[in-house]
C-alpha cells in the first residue's frame, strides 16, 4: 500500500504545484493578492469541457485553447480592475478588496449561467493505465505529472534565460528601478497576467479531468491549499512551488493512509502555520516576508 499511497500523494502534489505555479507568479511578481485566480481555474475547466463536448475537440486542442482564452480573460480583468488602482497608488487593501468583489461577482455569474451541478469530461478522454508492482498510474495521472514538470521547466527557462524573464524578475524586485532601466511595465505585467491565467486554466482542466468534479466553485476549494503551497515554497519561487506542492500532496496521502483521514485537511494548514512561524520566507528563503 505504501507505494500506491506515495503515488497518490505525488499526483495530488503535482496538482497542487500546477495550481500554485500561476498563483505564485502573479503573487510574487505583481505583489497583489489577486483572489480571482480561483476563477481562472474554474473558467479553464468549463471552457475545455465545452470545447470537448460541444465542438468535439480532443484534449490536446481543448487544453491549450482554454488556457489561451483564460489568459486573455486574466489580462482583461487586470486591465479593468487593477491597473487603475496601481496608477492611483491605492492602498494594498484596495486591490485585495476589488479582487474579492470581482471573485464573488464572477463566481455568481458562472453559477447563474452554468448551474451548480457537477460535470465531468466524457469518460475515456485520456485512457490507459500502467501497472507495476501493485501500483497503478492512470493515463490522466501520468499526464498531470508530465505537464507539471514540463511547465515548471518551461517557466524556469523563461525566467532565467530570456530577456522577458529578466524583465519580470526585475519588475518583481524593484518596479521603479526596472522601469528606469527601460522595462516596459505595462507589457510585462500584461504578460504575467496572461501567463498566470493560462496556467490556472491548465491546472483546472487537468484537475477537473482527474477528479471528475467540475463545478463553478472548484477554484475556491483549491485557493487555501494554493496559499499554503506558495507560502511554504516561497513567494515567486517556481521551483519552490513544485517541491512544496509535492511535499504537501505526499504528506496528506501518508497522513490519511497511516494516521487518520480526519487529519488530512489539517496537514496543509499546520504546515502553513509552521512555515510562517519558523521560516516565513519559505523553504528556500528566496522571498522576503517582511515586505508586505
Amino acid at each position: 500500500m505504501l507505494g500506491q499511497q506515495l503515488v497518490n500523494g505525488f499526483v495530488a502534489g503535482a496538482t497542487y504545484a500546477l495550481f500554485a505555479l500561476g498563483f505564485t507568479l502573479m503573487f510574487g511578481v505583481l505583489r497583489v493578492i489577486n483572489l480571482t485566480y480561483g476563477v481562472y481555474f474554474s473558467a479553464g475547466a468549463f471552457l475545455a469541457l465545452a470545447l470537448v463536448r460541444n465542438v468535439g475537440f480532443g484534449l490536446g486542442l481543448a487544453l491549450p485553447a482554454a488556457a489561451i482564452a483564460t489568459g486573455g480573460l486574466a489580462v482583461l480583468i487586470d486591465a479593468l480592475l487593477l491597473t487603475r488602482l496601481r496608477r492611483a497608488k491605492a492602498p494594498e487593501l484596495a486591490s485585495l478588496m476589488v479582487t474579492l468583489g470581482a471573485t464573488l461577482l464572477l463566481y455568481a455569474v458562472l453559477t447563474a449561467w452554468l448551474g451548480t451541478e457537477i460535470r465531468r469530461f466524457p469518460p475515456g478522454l485520456v485512457g490507459g493505465a500502467v501497472e507495476f508492482g501493485g501500483i497503478r498510474i492512470s493515463g490522466a495521472q501520468a499526464l498531470i505529472i508530465v505537464t507539471t514538470f514540463v511547465l515548471v521547466a518551461g517557466l524556469l527557462t523563461l525566467l532565467r534565460r530570456t530577456r522577458l524573464g529578466l524583465a519580470i524578475r526585475a519588475l518583481a524586485e524593484n518596479p521603479e528601478a526596472a522601469q528606469l532601466m527601460g522595462v516596459d511595465a505595462g507589457r510585462t505585467v500584461a504578460f504575467v497576467s496572461f501567463a498566470s491565467g493560462a496556467l490556472g486554466a491548465a491546472a483546472g482542466v487537468l484537475i477537473g479531468l482527474e477528479y471528475n468534479a467540475i463545478q463553478p466553485y472548484m477554484g475556491e476549494a483549491m485557493m487555501l491549499k494554493g496559499f499554503a503551497v506558495i507560502i511554504i515554497g516561497g513567494l515567486g519561487d517556481i521551483g519552490g512551488a513544485l517541491i512544496a506542492g509535492l511535499l504537501l500532496g505526499m504528506a496528506e496521502a501518508l497522513t490519511a493512509g497511516y494516521l487518520a483521514s480526519t487529519l488530512k485537511d489539517a496537514v496543509g494548514f499546520v504546515l502553513l502555520v509552521l512555515t510562517l512561524w519558523v521560516r516565513p520566507d519559505g523553504l528556500f528563503g528566496r522571498a522576503s516576508a517582511r515586505r508586505a
Binding site: M1, Q4, Q5, N8, G9, V11, A12, T111, T116, E117, I118, R119, R120, P123, A129, R136, S138, I207, Y211, N212, A213, Q215, Y217, M218, A221, E252, A253, A256, G257, A260, S261, T262, K264, D265
Partner: protein, 377 residues
C-alpha cells in the same frame, strides 16, 4: 423593495381574511415553504418545490381545502445557509402569518429553524430532513421523511442476506451534519447485524480526492464499502474506486445522499452495482405512482426523484390535516396532523407519536445499473 411591498399587501390580505374566518370565504390558505432554491443543495430543493407544485395543482383541481378554499404556498429560498433559513422562517411567521411551514431542505437548517417555529407554536414539516434528533426539537416539529435510522438497516440487512457480507469498510463525510449522522446510524446497524468494520475513513464535504482513503480500503479487501456522503462526493468516490481497479464483487452501499439520479449521470458505469435503500422508486407499479411520474415528466420535463415524491405526498398529508382541522389554525393543524393516515406514492403513511413516520414498510433496496436505479433482485 417591491418584494416587501407585495409581502405587506399579502399580509394585510391574510389578516383581513383571518378576521372573517367564521364567514364563508374563498381566501386562499397560504402555507410557507423554506427550501434551498439556489446554490449546490438546490439539486434537492428544486425537486421538492416541483413536488409541492404538482401536488398543489392536484389538490386545487380537486376542490381545494377546508370546503373549497384554494391552497397556496409562499416559497422562500434559504440558499442553504442557516441565517437565511431563519430569517425566512421569521418572515413567514411574523409577517406572512402562515399556519404551517414546509421544509427546510437540509437537516442543518432544521436544527436552526425548528426551534424558532416551535417556540411560536407553528407546525413545521420536514420532507427531506433525515438526521437524528429532528423531531426531538419540539412538539411542533414533524417530518415525513424516513430517518436514515429506518432505511439504512434495511439496506444493510438485504446486502448481508444476498451477498453474505461479513466485513466492510466505512467511508463518511465528517463535516456535514447529515452525512455524519448517517454514519452513526450505519455504525449501530452494522454492529447489530454482526458485520465487522475493518476500517473507518472520512473526508471533507468539499474534497474531490479520495485516493488515499480508497487505497487504504482496497488494501484491506473488505466485502463491501458502506458510504455516507452527498451525491457529489459519492460520485467522486465511485469513479475513483473504479479507476483504482476495485473488484466488482466489492459492493458499495450508500445512505440517503446516494438517492439521486445525478449519481448515475456523473458516475456512469462506475456506479454499477451500488446499493441504496430508498423510501420510493420511480418504477413502483401502483397506479398512483405511475400517474405522479407521468404528470411530473409532462410538467417539468425530467424524471422525479424521491425528494419530489416525498414532497408531493407531504402536501397531500397537510391538505388532509387542514380538512380535518376545519381551519387554517396552527394549533388545530398540529393536532390534526398527527392523526393523518393515508397512502401516497411513497406507500402507506402515518405518524408515530414521535412525529416521525411510523411505517418503513415502503422501503426498497435499489441497485444502480447502467446509470439508472432498479430494484435489487
Amino acid at each position: 423593495m417591491i418584494g416587501y411591498a407585495r409581502a405587506a399587501l399579502a399580509a394585510l390580505a391574510l389578516l383581513s381574511a383571518g378576521s372573517t374566518a367564521r364567514a364563508q370565504n374563498s381566501e386562499p390558505v397560504t402555507l410557507g415553504a423554506i427550501e434551498v432554491l439556489t446554490g449546490p443543495a438546490s439539486r434537492y430543493g428544486i425537486p421538492i418545490k416541483n413536488g409541492f407544485e404538482l401536488a398543489l395543482d392536484d389538490i386545487n383541481a380537486a376542490g381545494g381545502v377546508i370546503g373549497g378554499r384554494k391552497l397556496a404556498i409562499e416559497f422562500q429560498d434559504s440558499a442553504g445557509t442557516k441565517e437565511q433559513a431563519v430569517n425566512a422562517a421569521r418572515g413567514l411567521i411574523g409577517r406572512d402569518r402562515v399556519p404551517l411551514i414546509l421544509g427546510p431542505t437540509l437537516s442543518t437548517e432544521m436544527f436552526a429553524v425548528g426551534p424558532v417555529a416551535n417556540e411560536r407554536r407553528i407546525p413545521i414539516l420536514g420532507t427531506s430532513t433525515t438526521a437524528n434528533g429532528i423531531t426531538a426539537i419540539g412538539p411542533y416539529v414533524f417530518r415525513t421523511s424516513l430517518p436514515e435510522a429506518d432505511v439504512v438497516p434495511v439496506t444493510l440487512e438485504a446486502a448481508q442476506r444476498k451477498f453474505g457480507i461479513k466485513k466492510v469498510a466505512v467511508l463518511y463525510g465528517n463535516d456535514d451534519a447529515f452525512t455524519k449522522s448517517g454514519w452513526e446510524v450505519m455504525k449501530v446497524a452494522l454492529e447489530k447485524l454482526g458485520i465487522e468494520t475493518v476500517a473507518t475513513e472520512s473526508f471533507g464535504a468539499k474534497d474531490t480526492d479520495f485516493s488515499a482513503q480508497l487505497t487504504k480500503i482496497k488494501s484491506l479487501d473488505p466485502d463491501a464499502v458502506v458510504v455516507s456522503a452527498l451525491v457529489e462526493a459519492a460520485s467522486g468516490i465511485l469513479l475513483e474506486a473504479r479507476a483504482q481497479g476495485f473488484s466488482p464483487h466489492i459492493r458499495f452501499i450508500g445512505g440517503n445522499g446516494f438517492n439521486s439520479p445525478t449519481l448515475g449521470e456523473i458516475a456512469g458505469e462506475a456506479a454499477d452495482g451500488t446499493l441504496v435503500g430508498s423510501p420510493w422508486f420511480i418504477g413502483k407499479a401502483d397506479p398512483a405512482n405511475q400517474k405522479f411520474v407521468a404528470e411530473y415528466r409532462t410538467k417539468f420535463k425530467q424524471d422525479p426523484d424521491q425528494f419530489a415524491a416525498q414532497a408531493y405526498d407531504a402536501l397531500h398529508i397537510v391538505a388532509l390535516a387542514l380538512d380535518a382541522a376545519g381551519a387554517a389554525d396552527p394549533e388545530k393543524l398540529a393536532t390534526s396532523l398527527i392523526a393523518v393516515k393515508t397512502t401516497g406514492v411513497t406507500g402507506p403513511f402515518a405518524f408515530a407519536p414521535s412525529r416521525d413516520p411510523a411505517d418503513n414498510s415502503g422501503v426498497v433496496v435499489l441497485e444502480m445499473k447502467g446509470g439508472r436505479f432498479r430494484i435489487l433482485e
